[in-house]
Point group: C2
Chain length 202, copies 2
């Protein structure tokens, strides 16, 4: 009973700690409603919910067979390092991101019992390495939603960071790496965004 | 190709629409940091992320065998009806909640291709009915996190709604229905909350 309570206490402490992800702000804004209306910046926790749901909905478009349940678990934990390391802007300076995030992973996943610490650390490392089909599809989910958010916000963070089409192209390459069908959608939306002045042509 | 694009377009339209869940505000506040400090109200999207992750972490404490991946899918979609129907306060007037949520489910899940509409509607109905082990454990996750949030906020919504211990007890019964171990934790926290003046003793 003692051991069980210790284990449960660790798990609950972790779940209380991760509440802080709701305070980490991203550079993307909520989908504007109506389009063009002012909308607030998004936080990382609600973003993670959105892309986990996106994986459930879009799974059939993966280039390679995936374990959707694993992709969803990966997406639920992949941004927890931001609690300590912060959100690194897509088009801003990356700095010592890898180092900060590795320290964060050690501390945050370290709150869990060893088996779960191992599982979540492995899922996060797999996401970062982008070598498996599950990780590639997870990255596609992470990247695709902000395109719709930016387009509804008159270009959103693309305008804020004065982004050119080829920079956006590079940023959204993971969508195509995970799904050709979704990559095609992104291609059209980036063309449209150049025409609308949301992205610089060069 | 035409049919595939129509299907993908429906899925993307759904994913853009559900962004609105980030605007639905609950009566619970983020875990205060430090305890007792002012913290903002929580929205339903970030809450759904938190409890989906809770299911991944706490699965072993379920009273009955569950399919954790299914519980997580259920939790990702179970609150989407709030986009139209709003959050119904735990301790406030329930009104015509069931009717409003049924209409919302028809509209929101109706954006999806038929097979996914059927799956998500069934998951939502199963959650609401609380008859399966998966639904019972999902309810336990939905209820347990706010206890920690309220306790860190000097009673939070319990003080806002002047809640008595027996009301809280009834509200948190689903935690025990899903997990005796977690029910025991809640029991102790409710006792502590009475002592601290967060809950009325009678």
């Amino acid at each position: 009973m003692g051991l069980i309570m210790t284990r449960l206490a660790q798990q609950l402490q972790f779940l209380v700690e991760v509440d802080k992800l709701k305070r980490v702000m991203r550079r993307t804004r909520l989908v504007a409603d109506p389009p063009g209306a002012e909308s607030r910046f998004e936080n990382t926790a609600e973003h993670c919910w959105h892309i986990a749901l996106a994986a459930a909905v879009l799974q059939e478009h993966s280039n390679a067979p995936i374990d959707t349940a694993r992709v969803i678990r990966m997406l639920l934990v992949h941004d927890l390092v931001e609690i300590d390391a912060g959100d690194t802007p897509a088009f801003g300076v990356q700095g010592d991101k890898a180092e900060r995030e590795a320290l964060a992973a050690t501390r945050i996943f370290g709150l869990l019992p060893e088996d779960q610490r191992t599982e979540f650390t492995a899922l996060w490392n797999e996401f970062e390495a982008r070598e498996t089909a599950d990780a590639r599809f997870a990255h596609a989910m992470d990247r695709i939603i902000p395109v719709f958010q930016n387009m509804s916000n008159n270009g959103g963070s693309w305008v804020d960071f004065n982004v050119a089409r080829d920079q956006a192209q590079a940023r959204f390459q993971p969508v195509r790496d995970g799904s050709y069908a979704l990559g095609d959608v992104i291609e059209k939306l980036l063309d449209e965004s150049v025409e609308l002045g949301y992205l610089r042509a060069k």
